[in-house]
Amino acid sequence: MYRIRFHARGGQGIKTASRILGTAFFLEGYEVQDSPRYGAERRGAPIFAYVRASKKIINERGIINKPDLVIVTDDSLLLLPIAGVLLGVTERTVLLIATDETTEVWKKRLNLQGLVLSISTQAAVESHAGLPLLGVACVGAAAQLAGAISKSALEEAIHEQLQPLGKVIVEESLAAAMAAYDQMEPYARCTTEREDPSADSYESPHWIDLPFEDARTSAPYIHAAATTFNVKTGVWRTMRPVIDLKQCNRCALCHIYCPDGVISLDAKGYPQIDYQHCKGCLICLLQCPTHAIDAIPEHGQEGEIS
């Protein structure tokens, strides 16, 4: 069985990407299970998705703990322990990162033993459709790495999943996926289906008897105020809203609509964004009646939060 895990930020098209890969496997005659996993927060929050593909019925479910291939479409996640990108990664796991740094840098930084591959984020950023193309490029690469998916199956899967989004997106996605497919040719089939250890020898789970603890400890409380302030949701941002105060008429709509309450008004009534906590959902941009708010890619900007 192939076990493939995707990591991304909400809004980067990872659910669609995992479905394209799942569909391509399915078209090649595999049994497939694919699923996105996210919490209550969507856009910008670290999320993951997984794809299982096998010639036999798949009875496994849920999170993939021992992946054959891990795909990361946002390299900032690699440094965020809570994203869990490296969970179960061993020397036989292939790691594919969308990054503009070299794979050597990541190997060193993360002390990785296995094969690390990269695809550039540049092409995708420059394209008409923007960031979501990164996901589909990763799918193209994954299809080549697994070696089980032909170009025609990949093409059909992209058509099937992206048709509703229009011709331009389909064409750009196809181009991005095929380019990555070709780029990975030297590494074709390097992701392999793993043999699982026999049920005869296994490590027993370290079960414990949960001790009683009184309600001061065991009630689900946070015993202090304003702790959310410590969580810098600014790191979630892939796009940064920037307000042009010259165009702003101080209507305060952005201040009212921001779901995280991070736009305050100064003494004169002008909006100020707290970039430590702005998660980049761009709801403010959609609300602004004077189009005073613009969005710029976060990567490489001054004051990027990490």
Binding site: V32, N59, S198, P205, H206, L210, Y221, I222, T227
Partner: protein
Amino acid sequence: MTRKLITGNGAAAWGARLARAEYIPAFPITPQTEIIETLAQWIDEGQIDSRMTTLESEHSMITTAGAAATTGVRTFAATSSQGLLYGMEMIYTVAGWRAPFVLVNVSRALSAPVTLEPDHNDVLAARDSGFLQIHCATCQEVLDSVLLAYRLGEDEKVRLPVIVNLDGFYLSFTREPVEIPDDKKVDQFLPPYDPGETRFRAGDPISQGVIVLGGSQYSYFRYETHLASLNALEVFEEASKEFEELFGRSYRAVEEYRTEDAEVIFFMMGSFATKAKDAVDRLRSVGRKVGLLRPRLIRPFPIEAIISAVAGKKGIAVIDQNLSLGKGGILYTELASALYSMTDKPVLVSFIGGLGGRDITREEFYEMVAVTMKAIETGKAPPPRLLYSKEELMQMKGLQSIARVEQRKGRGKR
């Protein structure tokens, strides 16, 4: 025959579509919303001829569904977790109306603390309501169970609403290959619903759900509803046989997987049972005699089928993805009472696992077999075991320090 990759939510919507559900009262809740979104889109595109009404709460939604069903309209609704509980008053009420419709519940663990991921305390809170309950383990089973549920609930011998349950995330958002049955064949399996004499019509008024005082009449009506529920066992058998003839997929009230010569079996419900199947296959390949028993029907509870399936087994690892606080696993209690009159009972070992969607690992399934084997040897079952590790507690302690649990101790004394 088309086989497509669809989610459990998509499969539920396909079930409603193929059953030609005419009326869909709706209220959103994660992780169910995709079901009504899918149906709404199909209505919008003119692909199905149903009417959807958005209600202001689950309480109203279930009332509306029950009311529509009494008029003989085939009705479909979906909810989850807190939504099911919010509508609980009406869950009991509409069952008493003997109004058959299908309510899909996408299991999600209950608050507090708040979560999104599944366990079965939500749907088991409706256990004693009169709703029948079918529990699914795969996306295919979700679609097929919706069709079976209409057959079951609408049957003259039953006339009760049915909950079809699927697990949030593990099925709701997970795509698997699903065969979409041919609609002509579905029409053959599931002809239009005709409530006959019990139909409510504005032009021919009757009163339903009347008041009775004194207890005697109440006892009659409640026990009749109980008998109707028990009838569903036989009706389910008939319907599932016919289903198998038409569609080639067999759904018994209790699924038996490699149980023939098994010494130890897992007993559990829902989608995590496929994980148990995976463990069974792996244990079998090294010569262990293990199997899986999975009740699909929880109400009515298929006691006889279970007794005949466990006869001759030495031990049962009962895995409850629920917890009756102050008692223990609900399925364990149900099974223990079902087997009480049996001679040569197998040893029952109780495990609580998968609460709030916590994973159950392959190694944990192996270990549950080992623990059950030991109980067979010694003839003594250990106390119930929560599947929870040392590492998880350590992680909890870390989180508690972020939540400043230590710092605030003694605060109340001020």
